[in-house]
Structure formats: C-alpha cells, structure tokens
C-alpha cells in the first residue's frame, strides 16, 4: 500500500514541530511534504531578537535541509500555497505545482497587523516577525537616529529593545493607557513604564497615530489624534497579530467571527482531512499567540492522524519574560476576573518590584499573579495555580520576601506537586515524566534534558526541572554526584579540606592520597588554585607549572595570536606621572598596543613570550608589580577620587581602595574577585557591581557583597552599614577566605552566595556571629596569605632558572615568524594577513 501523504502548509515553529513529532513516532508510514513561504526552513522565532546580539540565522535554525533530506521530508522553499481544493484533495503552490494530499495540515501562523494609517507604506516602516524583517530594520537603522515602535505589548517592547540595541533613540507609542495591557494591570504597567523610562526608552501612552508625514528634524513625523506629534526616522509596527486564514477562507473552511481557522480537540477543521495548528488555529474561540500551545496542537494532530487519542485541551497563557532587562510575568487570572476573588499587592518603589496575587474566595487557592521587576517566584506560583495547591499560610506570606522561607522551602513546594503537574510548558513535560527519566538513569541535568526534551525550549523551566530532579534523586537515595572530575571523587570543597587537613603540597601527593590517573583540564587548575590559596608558593615552582593554564604559566594573558598582554598593578587606579611615562616608554620601545582597561589600569598587548622578562624587568625595577590580570585572584579595586578632591566625598575612598588592593593582591581564589570603593552614595566607582563593594557614609563604610558584571550581572547585597575601617577589613577577610574554602571551581561570589543554603542571612551569621566557629582560622589563613605575598614577576626575574621557559623555541633563539602585525589607528593589531598565511601552513 502506498504511504499516506501529509502536506504541511507553513514551515514555522509549529509546522516543523508537527513534522518532527510525526517523523519521530512513525517515520516510515507517511510521506511528508512541506511548503515554506520564507527562504529558510523553520527557525526559532521566539529568540528572534537574539539575531541582533550574536545569534546568526544558522544558530536560530531548528532544522536544516540536510536533516529534512535525511528524514525523507520533501520541502519547497520560497513557495507559498495559493489555494486548496478540498474536493480534489490537492493544493496549488505559487510555483505552479499541484500536489495532492491524504491529510493537509495548515500551520500558516499569523501576520503582523498594520492599522490603516495614512503614510504607512513608505521606506523605513517595518513590522517585526521574520528574519527578513530584522535585516530590513537593521538596514534602516544605519542612517537613522530615532526609532519608534507602535504598540506597547509584549512584542512591541521586544522590538523596542531591538532597535535600542541598534543604537537608536527609542520611543514606544501605545494606544492603551498602559503597557502590556493584555498581561499587566495598571500598577504593573506603571512600574514597567517607569523602569523602561529610566533605561532611556520613552513611553507615550494613549496615543492614536493619525498619519505619518514628512518630518522636519527626522525623516517622518507621526501626528497623533490629540494634536501632539513625534519625529522619527524608522518606524516598527507591532500592533498585534492576525491569523493567516485566507487559504482556509477561500476553501470555505469554517472560521471564527473575527478570523482564525476553527478546530476541534483533535485539531481538525470543518473538513475532516484538513487540520490546523499553531497561531492560525482557533480553538474554543481562542487564538493562542504562544509557541507552547502550538506544540500541543501539533502533538494532538499527530496523535489523531496516527490513531492515538491525545487531545488539545487548551493552554495556559501565563508568560514570563525579560523586556529591556526588566523581568515581567503574568500568571493565570491576572486581572482578577473570577467572581469574589481577592487581590493582594506589594510595591517596592526603591528597588522597582511590583507583585500582585489573585486569590480565590477562600483565600487559600492562588488564581493568578502579576510580577514586574522580579519574577523569581514564577515557577513556584505557576505550579500552585495550575495544580490548585492549597496554601498553608495566609496569602500575604507569598508576597513578603522575608516570610518566604517559612511558607515552605522550594523542595516542600516541589513535593506538593502532583505527578501530572506540567513542569516544562514548552515541551509539555510533567513532573511524573521527569521522575521516570531520573529513575531510569538520567541523573544530571544535561542527560535529563536530552532524554525528555524538558528545558530545551525557552529554558525558563530549568531551575524547576533541576529541583524536581534533585528531589527525586534524594528520594531514590542517590546522592547527588559532586565529584570534581573523573580523577577525583570529591567536590572542590572536600578536596580543599583534604589538602588543608593533611597538609598536602603537590598535585601528585593529592592524587596518591585520594585520586586516580594523571589529571585533566578540570582538576589540574582547580588543585593548582587550591594549593596556591593554602600554601601560596610561587606559581612557577616546577611541580606547579604543569597544573596551570597558560596565563598563570607565563604570567600574562595569551591573546588570539599567541602573544601575551602585560598589566602592571595600578592600585586603586592611582598612578604617578613617572609611572605613566615609563609605561608609555616601554610600550613604545616594544611597539605594544596600549589600552585603558575597564578596570582602571593599562593593558599592553602583543608582547612575545621571549620579550616578557625584559619588559617586566623595566617595570619591576621602577617599583611596578604584576597586576594578576592572568590569575583567578583579586583583579582590581576601582576607586573614585573621594573626599580628597571631590566636593561630595565623605571618606577617602582612594586611600581605602589602595589599602585593600595591597592587602588582597595575589590571593588565588575559585574565580576572579573584583572590588571597588566609592567616596559617597553617588557611587562613581560602581561598587555595587563588584564581589566586594564599599561605599562611604558619613559614619564609615557600607559593605556590599557578591555582585558582579559579566555574563549574568548581579547587584551586590548590602552586608553591613556604617562600619569602621577595622571591621570592614575583618569582614572582607572572613568572607573572602570562606569563599575560597567553600566555593565550587570557577564559581563567582554571586553564584556561590546564592548556592549557600540560607544565602545572605547565613553568610551574616557565619561572619558576624561566628556561627561555625571557624573565623579565627579563616583570619589566620588570610594573614598567612598577606604575609607571604610576593610579586610573581619580581621573583621570576630574579631566578634565572625560571627564565629559561620564556623563549619561543627550546632549541633556537628565533621568534615565532607567524606573528605579524598590521596597523590600526596608529597602533599594532594582530594582522589578518598573518592569519591567512597561517591557514596555508
């Protein structure tokens, strides 16, 4: 018997999901053909905006032509289906092909709605839906300075973020009185607006665009119904989406009153052989503008076609996202539409957090919630809504951060969920399915992800998936494997204690004591760092060299062409003219690229391995020291000028920064550590983004801890206020050493603190109340490290033995002839030519 032929119109996210689901379960039984109007097969539209921040079209692709070929799926790119003949059971494409089908699946998605504003059809006026749209917007941005997004909904704000990233002065124009009117209530909308305003995006609500005409200062002027206007060069319409139901309409399939292809629970349209799924489908008079419900429809349709009984039963429209860096979430009945429901809200204008919960009549069941500024409770609350879990505490406990711990820690929350609770909404994975997978051997998060698919969509459920996994693991009596790597069956903290207590001095001695094999890229540097944190021997001791990454090994950061950078320490950013001149002279003599770093000091790039000792000798002779830019150790202590010069300063922040930098320089830690000291609350040193941030007060210092910038910025937490110099140093000593002792490898202080059970409060107890009784020991350890400090470069230069390694060849004094520099803005630059030559080798 010939295979049944399934034709899928539209190869968007949902059409593709349908194809891959059908292929996964019944690969041999069907012939699959898909039409794709865009020039690419399905890509991740949800992540569309990341196209501007580093993801290429290939990164976003959900499949490739090769993969479809391999699966035996036939596809037509750049071809639109232009009509359906339900009687003949065939479709006609824009390329003129007529293809018959046994079953037809309409997955045509939706199109952006553009209101009929006069002047809308001009250059530089766009919509925000496809990769091609994004290319066109980026092209317009090139000669624009101002951009406007029309529409302050979820997508509009995302588009605003995108054009802001393109460097335009950004405005959002909204017809309704608040932003994200569908998801947020007025309180949430107002706070979001405030937050977005402070980011430099201007929000204009209750503006009805009447016409777009030529502008005076910009390309266009938008005239609003209330008489006001706005000038702009680029416009992006994001005024809502409409289902693409024109094909279905022409084929006389049943549509909703306001559009959308009507479907039943099996996702069949009014013609039993035609299915419809995704954003074009209308179920129970509802359109679902999210990808997860679309995936569920795809599953239901696959199930029905293949004789299964899975049905589509509607979907929860709760959402959690980050818009312009602001966390926003809405769950369930966010507008309190349920009769007799009660609402509670919490506003903290200082930190910009707004939360509202909607409870049922009894005050025991959570029905919905709105969050702006902090959506960390999203996963927990969503589960409470979906599973109607009864609260054990009065509802206000949910809102008060302090009380949260009491309302049942996270694992209690997980245990309360039934097995049917959906944990990953993107891929529809329940707690029961996760538990089964864990029991069957998926005992770490990556295994669990790849065998269940959970967490591979938006990724938002990963924390919850991890909690479920850990809860199940401990239920199964499996201890969570925290081995450092294949060579050591201990965690970093355990190894640190072993080394400390048994006084182990070398990697081999540690392997002999409790390891196996010879070591790898994970354990070698980790143990090297621990040995240094404890015994503080020179890093170029023979026994230690082989443990370190090249940066530590040659006391410089290796650059892309194999040369190194040179960063002398400039404590607190303060430098004498003589030192500045010397740095300039040396840079000139050796022809090094020179740049001021983000850490208030100077980086010299392009030094070759054989030049390092001579260059450093010049610096060391003049009293400059290594800046440890290469080490997982203290980097810089930034400062502001403080009360010595600044009219606002209340303490001498520069002196404090220098004192601190000199105190902690060279101390090896699990990851790098950065500090800063500001002279008053204006915070010019940006101390609150550092591992240790110190801000002067009239009475002393405020100490902030565990902040960082980088990939996942975290604001530091206030640890103590108005403390004096001695207390400040004492606190930093203890926290720093406690971090060195207990953090995981390559864990910044921020993640470390979040992983401590009890978090900041616990850390305070340890430091201020000596809860663990180890403070004296930590202080002694710190004193040892401070006393044994040496400038690694000074020692190296003074030890001829150690200098032998600083040569490109062991058997020749030649330099690496592959290092060639070009010139950019009057300085050297790693030459592309050199790279070309190198590929020919």
């Amino acid at each position: 018997m010939a295979k049944q032929r399934i034709v899928v119109v539209g190869n968007g996210m949902v059409g593709h999901h349908f194809i891959s689901q059908l292929h996964k379960s019944h690969s041999d039984e069907y012939e699959i053909i898909t039409f794709c109007e865009e020039s690419r097969l399905a890509y991740d539209r949800v992540m569309l905006t990341s196209y501007y921040t580093g993801n290429s079209a290939d990164d976003l692709a959900m499949t490739t032509p090769e993969q479809y070929d391999e699966m035996g799926v036939k596809y037509y790119l750049n071809q639109e289906v232009i009509s359906i003949d339900p009687q003949a059971k065939s479709v006609t494409s824009s390329g003129g092909d007529i293809i018959s089908y046994d079953k037809l699946v309409l997955a045509t998605g939706s199109y952006p709605f553009v209101p009929p504003v006069p002047g809308k059809d001009q250059e530089h006026i766009h919509v925000y839906r496809t990769l091609d749209d994004l290319d066109a917007i980026a092209e317009s941005a090139k000669d624009s300075t101002v951009g406007v997004v029309i529409g302050g909904g979820l997508l509009g704000l995302e588009a605003a973020n995108a054009i802001k990233q393109l460097g335009l002065k950004t405005h959002v124009v909204e017809f309704a009185p608040r932003l994200m009117a569908v998801q947020l209530d007025q309180g949430g909308g107002d706070l979001l607006r405030q937050k977005i305003n402070t980011l430099g995006v201007e929000v204009h609500t209750e503006k009805n665009t009447k016409e777009i005409v030529a502008g005076e200062t910009c390309k266009y002027r938008m005239n609003f119904a209330d008489g006001s206007f706005l000038e702009t060069d680029t416009i992006v319409f994001s005024a809502g989406i409409r289902p693409r139901d024109n094909l279905a309409r022409a084929a006389d399939l049943q549509l909703g009153e306001r559009g959308g292809i009507s479907i039943n629970n099996q996702c069949q349209t009014s013609d039993a052989d035609i299915y419809s799924i995704g954003e074009c489908a209308l179920w129970d008079n509802k359109i679902f503008g999210l990808v997860a419900p679309g995936y569920n429809m795809a599953k239901a349709a696959v199930s029905h076609i293949t004789g299964g009984d899975k049905e589509f039963a509607g979907a929860d429209m709760s959402t959690k996202l980050k818009l312009l860096g602001v966390e926003v979430a809405s769950i369930g009945d966010a507008h309190a539409n349920t009769p007799n429901s009660q609402t509670y809200s919490f506003i903290d204008t200082a930190t910009g957090i707004y939360k509202k919960i909607v409870m049922d009549e009894s005050g025991k069941i959570l029905l919905g919630a709105v969050m702006v500024g902090d959506s960390s409770d999203y996963g927990q609350w969503l589960q409470m809504v979906l599973n109607k879990i009864e609260l054990t505490h009065p509802p206000e406990y949910l809102l008060l951060p302090e009380a949260e711990g009491e309302s049942g820690g996270s694992s209690a929350g997980i245990d309360a969920l039934p097995d049917s609770a959906q944990i990953c909404s993107c891929l529809d994975i329940t707690k029961g399915e996760l538990n089964e997978a864990v029991a069957a051997g998926a005992t770490d998060i990556s295994a669990l992800k790849s065998c269940t698919g959970a967490g591979t969509g938006c990724g938002g459920c990963v924390p919850l998936v991890t909690q479920v996994m850990n809860a199940q693991l401990s239920k199964l009596g499996v201890s969570i494997d925290s081995s450092l790597c294949r060579h050591f069956k201990y965690s970093r903290t355990e190894l640190y204690d072993i080394i400390r207590v048994k006084n182990i001095r070398s990697f081999n001695a540690l392997l002999d004591d409790c390891g196996a094999g010879e070591g790898c890229e994970i354990c070698k540097p980790a143990v090297g760092s621990m040995l240094a944190s404890l015994w503080n021997e020179h890093v170029l001791e023979d026994e230690l060299i082989g443990l370190q990454d090249t940066n530590d090994n040659f006391l410089g950061n290796m650059q892309k062409n194999g040369t190194y950078s040179i960063v002398p320490r400039i404590p607190g950013g303060e430098i004498t003219p003589d030192h500045l001149i010397l740095i300039g002279q040396v840079a000139k003599e050796y022809n090094l690229y020179t740049k001021i770093t983000g850490g208030q000091r100077i980086d010299l790039f392009g030094a070759q391995i054989h030049q390092l000792p001579a260059i450093w000798k010049r610096f060391v002779d003049a009293g400059l020291e290594t800046g440890h830019a290469y080490g997982k150790s203290l980097r810089t202590v930034k400062s502001c000028v403080g009360n010595t010069w600044c009219r606002y300063g209340v303490q001498d922040s520069t002196s404090m920064a220098i004192l601190i930098e000199q105190r902690y320089r060279g101390i090896r830690s699990p990851h790098k550590v950065k500090m800063a000291v500001s002279g008053c609350a204006r915070e010019c040193a940006e101390a609150q983004s550092k591992d240790f941030g110190i801000i002067a007060t009239d009475n002393g210092w405020n100490l902030y801890v565990c902040g960082n910038g980088g990939m996942r910025p975290r604001h530091a937490d206030l640890f103590a206020s108005d403390i004096d110099d001695a207390t400040l140093l004492r606190y930093i000593d203890i926290i720093f050493m406690f971090y060195v002792r207990t953090a995981d490898r390559l864990q910044r202080t921020s993640v470390w603190m979040e992983s401590l059970e009890g978090g900041l409060d616990y850390l305070k107890e340890v430091v201020m109340e000596d809860k663990l009784g180890i403070n004296d020991e930590l202080l002694a350890q710190m004193e040892h490290l401070i006393d044994t400090y040496q400038c690694e470069w000074k020692t190296t230069i003074e030890t001829p033995e150690k200098l032998k390694r600083f040569s490109h060849y062991i058997n020749s004094s030649k330099a690496d002839d592959n290092i060639i520099f070009g010139t950019v803005r009057d300085q050297i630059s790693p030459s592309e030519k050199a790279l070309e030559l190198a590929t020919e080798l």
Partner: protein, 120 residues
C-alpha cells in the same frame, strides 16, 4: 635498484630542560613541533616524550606547546591554551571534532637528550 634514505635523530634539548608534565616548542628544520615531557605517577622517574605540531588549527596560532596536558583512561591529550580544544598526543585527532587532526612526530629520549626524527 633501491635507494634508502637514512633518516637521523636530531638532538633537541636535554630532558631536564622540560619540566615534568609540561611542553616546549622545538624548531625541526623550520617546522614548529610541540614536545611534551610526561612522567606518570606510577612510573616515578620514567619519562615519556610525545611530539605533535605546535600549530593550533582552530585558533590558527603556534601555541600548543603552551597548553595543558590532560589524561583520561591512560590517553594523553593536549588542551589548546586558546580555545581549549583537545588533541590526542598519539594520533593528533581533535577530541571535539574528529575531522580535524594535527600532525604527530616521532620522538625519543636518548642518553638524556630529547630527540626528534629528521623529516626526509
């Protein structure tokens, strides 16, 4: 008639010039060769030498001798100091992408000297 070309072993440096479990770069008739001195724990005092190309095909720079030596199941690899890909020190094959490999060179320890075989 057959011709035999005699290939010679070339002295590079003394074994003790390469600290244990680290590497150096040697100039072998104009080619950059990364040489590693490996001394497993259980063979205290017994050294092995392994030699591969010094050129990192991913980062396109001559840096492999300055990488970190790793061991797993008795197989030794060198992790590039730049982008961290690992290459097997016996076969030259890249762990992360088997379609990429680097050349390997014959090497030995002879009378306390590290030697590479001349390329003919």
């Amino acid at each position: 008639m057959t011709t035999t070309t005699k290939t010679n072993w070339i002295d590079i440096c003394q074994l003790q010039d390469i600290p244990r479990n680290t590497g150096v770069c040697a100039d072998l008739q104009g080619t950059q060769v990364a040489i590693f001195h490996i001394q497993p724990r259980n063979l205290e005092g017994v050294s092995q030498i392994k030699a591969v190309s010094n050129f990192d095909p991913f980062a396109r720079a001559n840096v492999l001798s300055r990488g970190l030596i790793t061991e797993l199941d008795d197989k030794y690899r060198i992790a590039s100091p730049l982008l961290k890909q690992q290459f097997c020190l016996d076969t030259g094959i890249c762990e992360q992408d088997e379609s990429v490999s680097i050349s390997t060179f014959e090497s030995r320890i002879h009378n306390g000297f590290v030697q590479l075989k001349e390329v003919s």
